[in-house]
């Protein structure tokens, strides 16, 4: 858990409090717990990883997976979370605060994920959206293939 965990979590909670107020939603203990777990997880994760992390850190509170699934769209809409990698099967998320907008290379053999940051690529997408008068909400951009270490044994 990196040093900026507290700051990010705090910021996330504040953002979500405001979001709830604006949308006349309730700021519940469960959602707060979920956000804290979210910013505890550093890498990419599936819903199940998130749930396990929540339960491990809060053994007495029993938060239902249903609630997590129901909260996710709000957390995404509030800008705390995004779907990050395509082509895996189940959905892979990652938190957004403290990470600049980036994309991924994913190894089909060992599962390794390499992040890359390309303002040029994002710029092209933005330009295309403008041309099509399309309001972008979330981008997802993944190259699946074989990493340096796996590509020889790939066939």
């Amino acid at each position: 858990m990196p040093g900026n965990y507290l700051k990010e979590t705090d910021q996330a909670l504040t953002i979500f409090k405001d979001y709830c107020k604006k949308k006349q939603m309730r700021y519940t203990l469960e959602r707060e717990t979920m956000i804290k777990a979210l910013y505890r997880l550093e890498g990419h994760f599936a819903v199940d990883d998130l749930l396990r992390n929540i339960r491990r850190h809060n053994p007495k509170a029993r938060i239902a997976k249903t609630s997590v699934y129901r909260a996710l769209p709000f957390l995404m809409d509030a800008g705390l979370l995004r779907e990050s990698i395509a082509g895996v099967g189940s959905i892979v998320y990652e938190h957004t605060l403290g990470h600049r907008d980036h994309d991924h290379l994913r190894c089909l053999r060992c599962g390794k994920i390499v992040e890359f940051y390309s303002p040029d690529l994002i710029g092209i997408q933005t330009r295309i959206c403008r041309k099509e008068q399309f309001l972008a909400v979330r981008r997802i951009n993944t190259v699946n293939g074989y990493c340096r270490l796996c590509k020889d044994t790939a066939g």
Copy 2:
């Protein structure tokens, strides 16, 4: 069904015959049927759409969904098919022959899909892969958001 259907299908069948030979796989009637259906479908489709199309055009032949699922990875590997859109939930495919490599904008409200072609974007991805010594197999790049007609009523 466009005019180049026959040509594309023919090409696809030939490619897959060669692929089978190379991989010591069997070129079966079921797979041939599947490929024909594949090139009959023009747009983007899920596995279920493909199955329905197959069954409608071949009422007597009963091809099992299991076989379709098992064949898909081979068809992709042979270069006849690709996963095209991310963020939908289930997997969306489209055939490749006769279509240049492109990406998608997808409306979260009405489901409309806008295709766009950007050699620059593809070039950036290629450059990044080279830098990371990463062997690209398939790219997927989708911007989810609201189309021109839906963005006013999006909230």
